[in-house]
């Protein structure tokens, strides 16, 4: 069983297609590890054991009939719980959607299934993807598999923790201001935020529509490329999706970085950056240089304005997007109220958590008459300058290199009362979303406490191939990335109850129907 979990996605799919192992065996191996680690991590909100085994059986039937079972045949994937899955609860880690079961499927999920992937369940996250620690979840916080006293980052903390702990081979996340890259960094996995418009957002519960992108989270670069390839491409249901045709990310994956021009963003190494993170990132730059890349320092400027502009724009869009949660069409509704407006207000007051309300209030303010120009429009002007600064830097460099986050994963329970501190953990990631660029987070070492450090490579618009090539070169020079010790731990403690169906948790963080084995 443990050996199955060592194989990367392409190898696992290959072995299933060659009938060396059955798709059901792979699914069972991961489900077992999922159950073993779950009581410590809380990385899942819903585990769909029944659905996963059924999909594995369908894949196996295709293989047995000699039909093409897809590039991800039998590959276990975990899905962030803000992506709609038909017939499977999609909560956004909010009380508001605790009982919401979509009757349609997100395009990215539909494509994964079509590629043969087996969906294990839905991962825990910050409520409506608003947070950087996965502590704002109504289903309780996620723990970091490298050290469970620490956060996994956020908002895709459950997806990243699940991959790092070997609960799933890979996962989908969403990234509005760093929500794939920052938890990937904290959990020591590979996470990519694609160019805006690469992956259809249809079926992704919207946070800030001009910034949101769905992306892959994996344990190595090739798996990341495979997953990205599976979910990319045009979709008439999302008019911002660009219909790119250069999505052959895995086949085109080479590791030659000779002559590649890489700019180290010097502003990111100013005050506020942890020294251990700084030296690990510089060491990584040195490795790419020894592989033949031309590495030099460059200034990007405007870094200090990125977070203010990001929060203004993201909260403005969120206040508009989340107005759909009104207790009428789906989701939570507060008990008997006098009149429609009272019902709206009580429903939203009771259904949303503190951080979500904080952002809706800020967003409503910056869009309100008298403040719109001073805040929202100002932020859009700042965004224009940030885009220009990136364009300028990326005309001289093929890639920009820097840290993902100023520190490694903080301790749990430290950010609740100080949102500004949490927002600053996204200082190196938000500007990439404002500019709509692609970027990856790669593991680049551990700090003195044994917590992972992340390296960020930022590419030009549509520059995923270049990012993946440099990432692959770096990965190879390092001899590959290690998963957390938890992924390697024995499975003797695993419960193996028969006939257990779907485990669902209730929004106060306690375990509900089914329950997880201790």
């Amino acid at each position: 069983m443990r050996e199955i979990r060592r194989w990367p996605a392409a190898e696992l799919a290959g072995r299933i297609k060659k009938r060396e192992i059955k798709a059901g065996e792979a699914a069972a191996a991961y489900l077992e590890q999922l159950r073993t680690a779950e009581p410590e991590l809380n990385s899942f909100i819903t585990v769909d054991e029944e659905g996963a085994m059924a999909q594995a059986d369908r894949i196996q039937a295709l293989v047995d009939r000699g039909e093409d079972a897809g590039p991800l045949a039998g590959v276990p994937v975990a899905i962030k719980d803000n992506l709609c899955t038909r017939g499977l609860g999609t909560t956004c880690a909010s009380r508001m959607l605790a009982d919401f079961v979509p009757f349609y499927e997100a395009t990215a999920v539909e494509r994964l299934r079509a590629a043969g992937a087996v969906i294990l369940g839905k991962t825990n996250m910050d409520e409506f993807a608003m947070g950087s620690t996965s502590e704002t979840s109504a289903f309780g916080p996620v723990k970091n598999p490298w050290n469970t006293a620490h956060v996994p980052g956020g908002s895709s903390g459950g997806s990243c923790a699940a991959v790092a702990a070997g609960q799933s081979l890979c996962a989908l996340g969403s990234d509005t201001g760093g929500s794939i890259r920052q938890p990937s960094s904290y959990c020591g996995v590979v996470g990519l935020k694609p160019t805006y418009g690469t992956v259809s957002r249809w079926g992704l519960v919207a946070y800030a529509s001009s910034l949101d992108q769905i992306g892959p989270i994996a344990r190595n670069v090739e798996d990341c490329a495979l997953l990205l390839q599976a979910i990319s491409g045009g979709d008439r249901r999302d008019s911002t999706c660009l219909g790119r045709e250069d999505t052959d990310f895995a086949a085109g994956l080479t590791e030659d970085v000779r002559g590649l021009r890489i700019g180290i963003v010097s502003d990111y190494f100013d005050q506020g950056l942890d020294e251990q993170v700084a030296s690990a990132v510089r060491r990584a730059a040195g490795i790419l240089q020894r592989q033949g890349a031309l590495v030099e320092e460059t200034a990007l400027s405007l870094a200090e304005y990125a977070v203010p502009a990001y929060y203004t724009i993201a909260c403005a869009e969120a206040s508009s997007n989340l107005s759909r949660f009104d207790g009428v069409k789906y989701g939570y509704r507060a008990g008997a109220q006098e009149g429609l407006h009272a019902m709206y207000r009580r429903t939203r007051t009771e259904g949303f958590g503190t951080e979500v309300k904080r952002r809706i209030v800020l967003g409503s303010f910056v869009l309100s008459s008298g403040y719109y120009e001073a805040y929202y429009e100002k932020a859009l002007r700042v965004k224009a300058l940030i885009v220009k600064a990136f364009d300028e830097a990326l005309s001289r460099f093929d890639l920009l290199l820097g840290p993902v986050s100023p520190t490694t994963a903080p301790l749990l329970g430290n950010t609740g009362e100080n949102p500004l501190q949490m927002y600053l953990s996204d200082i190196y990631t938000v500007s990439v979303n404002l500019a709509g660029l692609p970027a990856i987070s790669l593991p680049c070492g551990l700090d003195a406490e044994g917590l992972p450090i992340g390296l960020q490579l930022i590419g030009r618009r549509f520059g995923e191939q270049t990012i993946l090539r440099a990432a692959r070169a770096y990965e190879k020079a390092c001899g590959g990335f290690a998963l957390s010790p938890m992924a390697e731990r024995g499975q003797e403690a695993a419960g193996s109850e028969e006939g257990r169906k779907r485990d669902e948790k209730s929004p106060d963080g306690t375990e509900g129907k089914g329950g997880m084995p201790a």
Binding site: Y305, P308, S364
Partner: protein, 97 residues
């Protein structure tokens, strides 16, 4: 200088955001909003004279497609998720006297 958040401002935000902000929550909103506005107000240090607001990073303007008839979700599927439904419709509290 800190932007003062008055009770009148919170009253108006309650209406815009469709939230009840009372008691402790109101106090917290006033404090947090003040802090956030101080922080995002930093943008004013940057001269953006002559810079046009940038709404979207892609150059797309309108994306058209053929107006073709296609199926959509059924009424029952949609109503299955509603907090309250009656006779094939969403049910809401009384809106007119």
């Amino acid at each position: 200088m800190a932007q003062e958040i008055t009770d009148e401002m919170v009253d108006s935000l309650e209406i815009l955001a469709k939230l009840d902000l009372s008691g402790e929550e109101r106090k917290r909103v006033k404090r947090d909003l003040g802090q956030m506005l101080d922080y995002i107000g930093r943008m004013n240090r940057l001269d953006t004279e002559g810079v046009e607001p940038l709404y979207h990073v892609t150059s797309q303007v309108n994306v058209f497609r053929e107006d073709e008839e296609e199926g959509s979700a059924g009424r029952e599927e949609i109503l299955a998720g509603a907090p309250e439904a009656m006779e094939g419709c969403f049910r809401v509290p009384r809106t007119v006297e």
